[in-house]
């Protein structure tokens, strides 16, 4: 391909959408400049390599949580065609249900603390996760059981909400469903506040970690970092195999592409919708549980705070694409954490939102746009 050819292509791109072109060019230029500046900062020693490592680690892990929870949101967004604002509270639901079981098992079914306090995940500081010695290294059985219950309980919730709330109005517009999902989010979040109380509790105790020594410091990989990465990657690969290798996956992709056509072809759409909620809900609940395990605190607001980042990731990656959700999650997670190198830490999340907004303007269909659930 000659220079004149690529010049002509660039010219065509420019004339067809000058603002988009300018924005895209600006975006790429900005990214390059930031990259160069990052190298310069590390080289001149104004930024410790170890600190950069820590920031990248936490960004990737946060991105994995966002991606894992984003898969469910992306699937329902494309198959049911609405932005589910209650998704964030599904995450919180998964976290609370899973942690109630973890507390119960780690607390010896009431032998170490009041059983009610254990089931309410230590509401109002009645019992602490640290006292119970909870962690993936110290109490693996309790954590694993909690993980399973988190997934199961969120599947149950997603199916129940779908049956009673979304299914009766599924033929209406996406905006109607969106507004309804805001109602679900309100009801769920404040019901959890009502039952579990508003305190933000610490749930874990310190775990062993492995240090990676760099020239000017160390980056620690804790047991919970490893657990989060392992669970996320395993589940993501599992979903990939499910969508690509099974008939159900094929049916889902067909539905995301064209619902009427799918029905005409004989795909049992209602059943596919149910499986969508099961897979999406399960992943979301597990993501909520692992997120809390990783960061060590649990509050009724956690999922809602994560929701906008998840939306950002899903839109960035392209609605309907699970790979888009994963990649988008990583980009958003890294942005939120890396941004603090240049701007005040209060704006980490703001930077992630800004990236999403810019992306919506430059490429509204997302990175993997046009490739639905594939």
């Amino acid at each position: 391909m000659g220079v004149s050819e690529s010049y002509a292509r660039g010219r065509e791109l420019f004339t067809s959408n000058p603002t988009g072109f300018a924005l895209r060019a600006g975006l790429i230029l900005g990214l390059v400049l930031l990259g160069v500046d990052l190298v310069r900062q590390v080289a001149t020693g104004s930024l410790d390599a170890a600190r950069l490592g820590i920031v990248i680690k936490s960004g990737i892990l946060r991105g994995l949580v966002i991606g894992l929870a984003g898969i469910g949101l992306s699937m329902t967004y494309s198959i049911l065609n609405f932005a589910n604002f209650s998704h964030g509270d599904y995450i919180t639901w998964g976290a609370f249900s899973g942690w109630a079981v973890t507390y119960l098992i780690a607390g010896g079914f009431g032998s170490e603390a009041n059983i009610g306090s254990l089931l309410l995940v230590g509401a109002n500081g009645s019992v602490f996760g640290g006292t119970l010695g909870i962690g993936v290294w110290t109490t693996p059985v309790a954590v694993f059981a909690g993980l399973l219950v988190a997934g199961g309980a969120t599947i149950a919730l997603a199916l129940a909400v779908d049956k009673y709330v979304y299914k009766p109005i599924r033929d209406r517009s996406g905006i109607t469903l969106l507004i309804t999902s805001i109602g679900v989010a309100f009801a769920l979040r404040y019901l959890m506040l009502f039952v579990f109380g508003g305190s933000k509790r610490g749930v874990t105790t310190s775990q062993p970690d492995w240090a990676l020594t760099l020239s000017d410091g160390t980056v620690n990989f804790g047991a919970h970092d490893v657990a989060l990465a392992a669970v996320s990657v395993v589940l993501m690969v599992g979903v990939h195999l499910l969508l690509q290798r099974t008939k159900l996956g094929k049916a889902m992709r067909a539905m995301a592409d064209n619902q009427d056509l799918a029905r005409v072809t004989g795909i049992p759409t209602e059943q596919v919708v149910r499986y969508t909620w099961i897979i999406g809900g399960g992943l979301t609940g597990v993501a909520g549980f692992m997120f809390v395990l990783w960061k060590g605190t649990l509050g009724y607001f956690d999922g809602w705070l994560l929701l906008l980042l998840i939306f950002a990731a899903v839109i960035l990656g392209g609605i309907g694409s699970i790979y888009g959700a994963i990649v988008g999650g990583l980009i958003i997670g890294l942005t939120a954490d890396l941004a603090v190198i240049w701007i005040p830490s209060a704006f980490g999340r703001a930077a992630a939102f800004a990236v999403m907004i810019v992306f919506l303007l430059v490429r509204p269909q997302g990175i993997f746009g046009g490739i639905e659930t594939a």
């Binding site: 609405f82 932005a83 009041n114 009610g116 306090s117 089931l119 309410l120 509401a123 109002n124 009645s126 709330v165 009766p168 109005i169 209406r172 517009s173 996406g174 905006i175 109607t176 969106l178 507004i179 309804t180 805001i182 109602g183 679900v184 989010a185 309100f186 009801a187 769920l188 979040r189 404040y190 019901l191 506040l193 009502f194 039952v195 579990f196 109380g197 508003g198 906008l308 939306f311 950002a312 839109i315 005040p344 209060a346 704006f347 999340r349 703001a350 939102f353 800004a354 999403m356 907004i357 919506l360 303007l361 509204p364």
Partner: protein, 447 residues
Amino acid sequence: MSVVERISGEIEERFDSDLEMVLGLLAAIYAVYFGTALIIGFSPRGQINAIANLTFYIGVFGLLALALNLHWGYTGLFNIGIVGFMAVGIYVMAVAAKSPEGTASGAGGFGLPIWLAIVVGTLAAALLGVTVALPALRLRADYLAIVTIAMSEIVRFTFLSGTFQEFTLLGYDTGFGGGSGLLWGFDPLMSFIEFAYLTGPYNALVDLTGTVIRNNPEPVVQNLLYGVVLLLFVVAYYVVLRRLGNSPFGRVLKAIREDEEATQSLGKDTNRFKIKAFMLGCALMGLGGILWYMQAGTITPNTFRPRLTFYIWIALIIGGAGSNTGSVLGGAVFAAALFQGPLYLKNVIETVFEVDAPNSFGQAMGPLVSSIDPVPLIYYVVGNIRSLQRVIMGLALIWLMHNRPQGLLGHRKEEAASIPLRAGRRTTGTEAAATDGGRDVGGEGDE
């Protein structure tokens, strides 16, 4: 559904005009509040304060629902970043009006006259509106929603951040106060009373109230007066929006809501219209934010969480998007039944019974399980009515979207045409829905 339809049908039949309907509803709300207070035997101070609070919230929710109606009801713009515009309005207003010397707890401001500061704050909200609108209005409705809510969070982070806690602008040392909030040392209501030479009547009113409330009647009078001021603003918003809606500009907006492509093919630059409508609505939201918090004298960034936006949405949906009268009614119903109602009920219950709320849900459930004693649970419900109230709001929203997406008043969306398309204004929801192909106000107008 049938119950609501019957009730709303009756409401429509009983009242000849919208004005009568609004006044009737307000009268009913106040009668319930007053009656309850009378039966329970609240002190006069408590009674008047409760009424003043109620008036305040009816006012602010009416204002903001009206402003949102311009976005969603008229133009079909799905804005869920209302708090962002409110926050910008009040913050800019406060910084502009604060005296340059500063207070003990923070930096100073620009010392503008209050009326000018209100204008500046409103314009700032409009400016933010246009910055969001210019790129975002081209997007799909659900994308616009996500962009606006993200924007409102960015605004909150900005006011929350230590970076803008104090800064220097145009030679003035000023700032937003960060997480500890902003404090301003002026009283807009009293300044206005002095400005309008109403000190005499005001003092007379305070003296009059002093005959009922012996001890320090002034705050009570101020509360009540401020509520009345807000209601006057509701009337002003209503008049402005009504005139706007019936103007050629308003007709284009409604046409955009119904079918943007058709409007474009008629030669209208729909983007310009949308941007203008969005800006105006944002300005009204900014002013709404100013009016809501101006009298409080202090503000913290975390007041402006997205849930406030959703309150206003619920108010609008209760009343019925697309109708200005519906917006006012929705604001009043939301304020009285969902926002203040549960808290008022709590007050009433706590006056009558000695409520000893348990600390946690576990302690509330324990006695119920072990000895079938529901009292602790009931106490817990009363004590935690704030969180339960939001559960009820969520359920109410779900219920409305299922059964009554067109709102309380039924199908009252104003037509995009300048001449009436139907014989007679009063139609019930189902008939109206049939005449225009069964579309719903709440959701499908913009698709």
